[in-house]
């Protein structure tokens, strides 16, 4: 009698593509009276976290005895055939199987943080334990002193994965050295970068690994209390983490006298209330204390004076998720991956105009080309690659001609971008770089907390200038103004938000200056994104006179008889683009 395990992706992509419906379909199909009882008994159905290749979701792994088959684009109506032909008939439904591109997506990846994500059932602690979960905690509590944990962390070379890249072992050591009656460890799960979802996927797919990592960190620095500061926009991550914490407590992995070591540690959850600046350590601390999340000058650093004035270590989710694996397999194993100064692996959210979008983990130092063309499968619709945006609003755009750059902290910093928390958005020829810069400034300007003048007023002026340029009101000297203002904001701002906010503008000017010039001098947007610079017209030859554009036009600029070609009155047109969006015959032209 074979054992059948069905694993349905319930990561961010899986759920958005209908994962819950696929689960219900399997449940009702397997409980059907026609299914022989011995097969029903041998089957187990599991919800798992992100399997990685979200663009092919819903992904379903079917494991019969030890052999795994993966189905892609699974819909509830496909489930009956999979059960009948594959589970009962033992013959896979070949046309629905994941193909070769599924294998190439994984070939160059190295999974450390994500090694169990997508395999374990996040709903039960037993599943985590069966994959070696809490072994690292046992090893640490039984046989390692806090000092030896820290020295192992230093040897591993792990650097903070939240963006700044500060060595984790050094941070822990600094906090360990401070004498205090109370210390805290905080897990920063306030993943605020737009375009990044690594932390969400890790917590949702493997919540226990974060708890275990935090517990080891707490032991190393001597903290008895921990907080997870998590975005309220991630309700599923919150729910799964609360469940996991409850289970860990029941099994003695959290709470008093953990694993009979005499060490006490408890975690509380604090929900963020929606402020990007709270990703900054001192602002995050203010927010946990119940205040407006505004940063303060450093020093003193949180390791000396943090939450309620006590020594505090703040680590990002992905950083903490690395720790159990490092403790289990050793610093040498971990530091064998990566480059001289950037050790280990990094998780990226690969999105945008690339064929395979999803969650990837790569050894530091592989090239951007390998990520985009081997893992990502190339650009969608065979368009030309224009740039890759990394590091979110604090990062920059790397142009297509630098695609052979190595992806590590130093190399990306050298070209004016950063690794950041791990968003990687691929842009193609249809993206306007001035618009991308404006998009990020719009974000940072509205998220600036307003405490320091360079950031509060500077980002506002940067944004206004970019808005003028994209509206066709740019003038000579604007580029120089942006550069001067940008460098002043970087130099004068209090915290990381302001110090990095101009990066998207500065890096796009550096590599795509001609696009800025075309917007300013010729009032042209070659990518046809900036609407104010376009003229809309109807191609009479292909217009069927269906009237869709006429109905969509809010300014009454379109006229025409039924079934005859329509016209746009450019004097009345407000360039909203509604006609372009609704036309099913591609008969609206933008020039």
């Amino acid at each position: 009698m074979s054992r059948v395990t069905i694993k349905v992706c319930m990561g961010p992509g899986g759920i958005a593509s209908g994962g819950p419906d696929v689960i219900s379909a399997f449940e009702s199909e397997l409980n059907h009276a026609n299914i022989p009882a011995e097969i029903q008994k041998g089957c187990s159905l599991h919800k798992v976290g992100c399997l990685g290749l979200c663009s092919k979701d819903v992904l379903v792994d079917l494991i019969i005895d030890d052999s795994k088959t993966t189905y892609q684009y699974v819909k509830p109506e496909m489930v009956q055939r999979i059960v009948n032909e594959h589970i009962i008939g033992e013959k896979p439904v070949s046309e629905w199987l994941a193909g070769e591109d599924y294998d190439t997506f994984y070939r160059k990846q190295v999974k450390v943080v994500l090694s169990d994500c997508g395999k374990i059932d996040y709903e039960t602690i037993d599943s985590y334990i069966s994959f070696g979960g809490y072994k690292a905690a046992e090893k640490v509590f039984r046989s390692m002193s806090p000092e030896s944990v820290i020295s192992e962390m230093k040897k591993s070379g792990l650097r903070g994965r939240g963006g700044a890249g500060f060595p984790t072992g050094v941070k822990w050591d600094a906090c360990r050295a401070v004498r205090s009656d109370q210390k805290y460890i905080i897990c920063n799960a306030d993943e605020g970068d737009p375009g990044a979802f690594m932390d969400r996927a890790v917590i949702e797919g493997n919540p226990h690994v974060v708890i275990e990592g935090m517990t080891i960190g707490a032991y190393a620095i001597g903290a008895s209390k921990g907080y997870v500061y998590i975005r309220a926009e991630y309700p599923l991550a919150v729910e799964r983490l609360i469940h996991a914490m409850k289970e860990a407590k029941e099994r003695g992995f959290l709470g008093k006298n953990i694993l009979k070591s005499g060490f006490n540690f408890d975690i509380r959850l604090k929900l963020g209330a929606g402020a990007f600046v709270c990703g900054e350590e001192t602002a995050l601390i203010a927010s946990i204390e119940g205040q407006r999340g505004m940063p303060r000058p450093k020093p003193p650093f949180p390791v000396h004076c943090g939450l309620w004035g006590k020594p505090t270590v703040i680590n990002n989710v992905e950083t903490l998720a690395n720790i159990p694996y490092i403790m289990n397999k050793g610093a040498e194993w971990y530091s064998a991956y990566g480059t001289e100064k950037s050790k280990g692996t990094k998780v990226f959210a690969l999105t945008g105009k690339v064929k395979n979008t999803g969650l990837i983990e790569i050894p530091m130092g592989i090239t951007m080309r390998e990520i985009i063309y081997d893992i990502g499968g190339g650009i969608e619709g065979n368009k030309a690659l224009k740039a890759v945006q990394t590091g979110g609003p604090s990062g920059g755009c790397i142009p297509a001609n630098m695609v052979d750059i190595h992806v590590d902290y130093e190399s990306l910093a050298q070209v004016g971008s950063i690794v950041g928390s791990g968003g990687m958005i691929v842009l193609d020829e249809d993206d306007c770089m001035v618009n991308v810069a404006k998009y990020f400034l719009n974000f940072t300007q509205s998220e600036s907390c307003g405490k320091c003048v360079p950031c509060r007023i500077g980002t506002k002026r940067l944004l206004e200038t970019l808005e003028r340029i994209t509206k066709g009101q740019g003038k000579d000297g604007d580029i120089e103004l942006l550069q001067k203002l940008g460098s002043d904001i970087k130099a004068g701002s209090l915290c990381g938000l302001g110090q990095t906010a101009p990066n998207p503008v500065l890096s796009t000017i550096k590599y795509f200056r001609e696009e800025y010039e075309a917007h300013i001098k010729e009032k042209k947007c070659a990518s046809k994104v900036c609407r104010d610079l376009l003229t809309f017209s109807i191609i009479a030859k292909t217009c069927t006179g269906c009237g869709a554009c006429l109905r969509a036009c809010a300014s009454g600029a379109i006229a025409g008889e039924k079934k005859k070609a329509h016209r746009i009155d450019s004097a009345k047109c407000i360039k909203c683009g509604a006609c372009f969006d609704v036309c099913k015959f591609a008969s609206v032209d933008r020039e």
């Binding site: 961010p12 992509g13 759920i15 958005a16 593509s17 979200c54 663009s55 979701d57 993943e191 605020g192 970068d193 737009p194 375009g195 990044a196 979802f197 969400r200 309220a232 926009e233 991630y234 604090k270 929900l271 963020g272 209330a273 929606g274 402020a275 990007f276 927010s287 204390e289 119940g290 205040q291 407006r292 999340g293 959210a349 690969l350 999105t351 945008g352 105009k353 979008t357 999803g358 969650l359 945006q389 979110g392 968003g423 958005i425 842009l427 993206d431 991308v436 998009y439 990020f440 974000f443 998220e447 907390c449 969509a552 809010a554 909203c576 683009g577 509604a578 969006d581 609704v582």
Partner: protein, 166 residues
């Protein structure tokens, strides 16, 4: 939706607020968790609730106001019965979230700073990122996530609310 002018409303309100206060004391809460609890109960942060807590806790109303306007999660006005959330993350932006946003505003006939239809039926809001970037552009309609959203799909969803409410 809660109505403060309804008969007996005052007593009802007080009962709810006392419940929140007890929880706040039990869990060593702070003003953020308090405002989150208020919002969970009422759907927004009513002025009357803030005034009541300000008296009970002897904390100036201005501090509540400062916090609730600092964080984007707090709403100071009642919200619609249906909620449409557009993701404005980077991946969604490059995959055309602006077209979706314009389509939603047109379809709902909302102007500049309006976020809720005059009949209180639908609230339309934008958020920085929903963390489903690989399925961009995404929208959440009444807690359900819609992957690879199109203006056509959006219109259909909006029409279905309008029908069901009539």
């Amino acid at each position: 939706m809660w109505s403060f002018s309804s008969p007996g409303g005052r007593i009802n309100l007080e009962e709810k607020l006392i419940g929140i206060l007890e929880e706040y004391r039990e869990n060593e809460g702070n003003l953020i968790t308090l405002l989150q609890d208020i919002q969970a109960k009422f759907g927004y942060v009513p002025e009357e609730a803030v005034q009541w807590f300000s008296r009970e806790l002897d904390v100036p109303e201005s501090r509540f106001y400062g916090i609730s306007t600092f964080y984007s999660q707090f709403y100071l006005k009642p919200r619609g019965r249906n909620i449409i959330t557009a993701c404005c993350g980077t991946a969604c932006h490059v995959k055309g979230s602006e077209r979706l946003i314009n389509a939603a505003l047109r379809e709902l006939q909302l102007h500049d700073d309006q976020d809720t239809t005059p009949d209180g039926e639908i609230t339309f809001e934008k958020v920085a990122c929903l963390g489903t970037c690989s399925m961009a552009p995404v929208m959440v309609i009444n807690k359900k996530m819609f992957a690879k959203m199109t203006p056509e799909k959006l219109k259909k969803e909006i029409k279905s609310f309008v029908k069901s409410s009539k």
